[in-house]
């Protein structure tokens, strides 16, 4: 059976949800005739028509606002931000209105905002950022980022069926670099559940997105040195799977917190807080954060390579932590 890429998995997931529920529609810039900047919505216009596959003017705040209004009035919008970076243009709509509707007036907003995020694609400061944290820090939003094709499909389907606004971060580097065989039957991956990608006993790496693959490669290298590394893929950033985080921390007693996002105010700090509050007695070493430095994402190859956490960076920290 043919393997399905991460990008195709997302396309299939949206497609299937549009087949099963008439209230699901997609809206965004260049999504209809053009099929989207990354071709996620390719072919949907022909299948579902222009009422359900909607091109908009170039206006992210307008798109998010329109999606929110449509969600209030009974639809399930799947909005495309052409790049996650531009979600900042709709920030007020997302954080000040959509996120607060249930709390303020009991109004569900079943809306997905898809946002292609992340670097390693030579995108530079406006097309490579990892923008999750402002949304993670906004109560009322859910935030997910799949690392595999299986999860990409299962999580987009779960996000579309969810009754809360979901920020769905797609990693652009993974779009065509990861693929696998997918089940033919309908399935979802539950929001809020992390997954152990590799079992290990000496050190845990807790991570998400593209960094899951970096962690797995680092774990393989470390195994050659006799260090057994467990890799936990968070999959969902809000709500965090606290149980899985604490389980792996208690199991190995040494934890590396890895993300592609910049260090200060990144998710690693929050994870460190959770582990130190609830599993401190189990720890045999310091909680180690690995993240991008606190700079914009640079363009030039040498700079971007230096910016992104690498397999070597992770192996070095794992080795260091193992000595405790």
């Amino acid at each position: 059976m043919a393997e399905t890429t991460y990008v195709e998995a997302i396309r299939q997931g949206i497609w299937e949800e549009m087949e099963r529920d008439d209230t699901v529609f997609v809206m965004g810039e260049d999504v209809a005739a053009y099929g989207g900047a990354f071709k996620i919505t390719k072919g949907m216009l022909e299948r579902f028509g222009e009422l359900r596959v909607v091109d908009t003017p170039l206006a992210e705040s307008g798109i998010v606002g329109a999606g929110t209004g449509a969600a209030i009035n009974g639809l399930r919008p799947v909005l495309e931000m052409q790049f996650a970076d531009f979600m900042a243009c709709g920030f007020d709509q997302i954080t000040n209105f959509a996120a607060k509707c249930r709390y303020r007036w009991g109004q569900a907003i079943p809306m997905v905002i898809r946002a292609p995020a992340g670097g390693n694609i030579h995108g530079g400061p406006f097309h490579s950022q990892n923008v999750e944290m402002p949304y993670v820090h906004t109560p009322g939003l859910k935030v997910v980022q799949p690392s595999t094709a299986y999860d990409a499909k299962g999580l987009i389907k779960a996000a579309i069926r969810d009754d809360d606004p979901v920020i769905f971060l797609e990693h652009k580097y993974l779009y065509r670099s990861v693929k696998e065989e997918l089940p033919t039957q309908d399935y979802t991956v539950p929001i809020g559940k992390a997954g152990v990608r590799r079992e290990g006993s000496d050190i845990s790496i807790i991570t998400y997105g593209w960094m899951v693959h970096v962690a797995l490669e680092a774990a393989e290298n470390a195994a050659g040195e006799g260090i057994s590394v467990e890799v936990l893929d968070l999959r969902t950033l809000v709500p965090l799977d606290r149980q899985a985080i604490l389980d792996t921390a208690k199991k190995t007693s040494k934890v590396v917190l890895l993300h592609e996002d910049t260090l200060t105010g990144g998710l690693g700090g929050e994870l460190a807080g959770i582990i130190s509050e609830h599993a401190f007695d189990y720890l045999d070493g310091p909680l180690v954060r690995i993240a991008a430095p606190d700079t914009p994402v640079p363009f030039s190859e040498t700079l971007e390579k230096a910016f992104l956490p690498s397999v070597e960076d992770v192996v070095a920290k794992v080795r260091w932590l193992h000595r405790f």
């Binding site: 529609f25 009422l51 359900r52 909607v54 908009t56 003017p57 206006a59 705040s61 307008g62 798109i63 998010v64 606002g65 329109a66 999606g67 929110t68 209004g69 449509a70 969600a71 209030i72 009035n73 009974g74 639809l75 919008p77 007020d92 709509q93 000040n96 209105f97 249930r102 709390y103 303020r104 007036w105 009991g106 109004q107 569900a108 109560p139 009322g140 859910k142 969810d162 009754d163 809360d164 709500p239």
Partner: protein
């Protein structure tokens, strides 16, 4: 340039409709007066306290045309729109007092209230943000092939925000059924109109988006009603959005804490002579055989209703702190 104001009324207004206008305008005026000048000063209402004093004709003349399937996105100067949709003075007062039985269960205050069942979206504090929301509500109506429309309310200040422009442009391009009621009350908080924009009429901004716009006397409920009727018919017929600029004046501060001493006395006096309720009463006396006693009786009825509602609201429980973390997300 923009369409000139409509000089002569075309509709023959009957007594019944005018009495409804009068009732809702008076109810809004007196309810807000009770909130701002009594309850707020007594400390029974805390936080921000915004009123639409002098602007009552705008929500009344428009929202009265709404059907159950329509949606409204009122601003903080449009309390009567909520009343017309069936939200009661009791619910409004419980909201202002932060009680558990208020529309937001104490989670938001003052005019920041809405209701899914009665199709009222609560204010988004950055008011222009409601323009794209109106677009989405209208999009869903068209999606299902309904003839419903959205009534959107904002003011001159909102028209400087990016969302306002994004939302109007999208609604025009997508041909969405929305009637925009813009209250141009000459001040956004303390900022006068000439520091808000280089032109005199907001309708001229709208012209750039290809949306028909008209300017009306925002203190004349009959003119608002007629313009809204034109707008609603236009939108229900699938002809797209329609914009009504209502020239009016904010007869209060931005909020209860604001003495508005930046407003020239002469300007305030000039507008106090154009009071929308007095204007309607004059019409009713001259054309519909109403007399002063009718208005006295109506005011009495309204004041009694408000007193009963205040009494009820003061008895309402405050929210239980145990509910603090409820309703951030859907129940699992």
């Amino acid at each position: 340039m923009s369409t000139p104001a409509v000089a002569h009324l075309q509709t023959k207004f009957d007594r019944d409709l005018c009495e409804r206008f009068h009732y809702y305008m008076l109810l809004m005026r007196e309810l807000e007066d009770r909130i701002e000048n009594k309850l707020y000063r007594q400390g029974k209402v805390v936080g921000g306290c915004y009123t639409g004093r002098g602007q009552e004709a705008i929500p009344v003349g428009s929202a009265i045309l709404s059907r159950p399937g329509d949606w409204l996105t009122p601003s903080h100067r449009d309390m009567a729109a909520l009343l017309i949709r069936g939200i009661t003075p009791e619910e409004i007062l419980a909201q202002y007092m932060g009680r558990a039985t208020g529309l937001t269960k104490g989670r938001d205050g003052n005019m920041h209230m809405g209701c899914p069942e009665r199709h009222c979206v609560p204010i988004i504090s950055s008011i222009g943000a409601s323009i794209p929301i109106a677009g989405g509500l209208a999009f869903a109506m068209r999606y299902r092939g309904e003839s419903n429309v959205v009534f959107n309310y904002s003011g001159d200040g909102a028209s400087s925000r990016g969302d306002w422009h994004e939302g109007l442009n999208m609604a025009a391009v997508m041909n969405l059924p929305i009637v925009y009621l813009c209250n141009n009350n000459l001040y956004a908080y303390s900022t006068p109109l000439d520091k808000q924009m280089k032109i005199a009429d907001i309708a001229d901004r709208v012209a750039g988006y290809g949306i028909p716009a008209e300017i009306v006397n925002g203190n004349d409920v009959l003119a608002i009603y007629e313009a809204s009727k034109r707008g609603v018919e236009h939108a229900r017929a699938g002809k797209g959005p329609y914009f009504i600029e209502c020239k009016t004046f904010r007869m209060s501060g931005h909020s209860a804490h604001d003495p508005a001493d930046y407003v020239p006395n002469q300007l305030r006096e000039e507008w106090s002579r154009k009071d929308p309720i007095l204007m309607l009463e004059k019409y009713m006396v001259e054309n519909l055989g109403a007399d002063e006693q009718d208005f006295v009786d109506m005011r009495k009825r309204v004041l009694n209703k408000i007193s009963d509602a205040v009494e009820w609201a003061l008895e309402q429980p405050f929210p239980d702190p145990a509910t603090l973390e409820d309703d951030v997300y859907a129940p699992a």
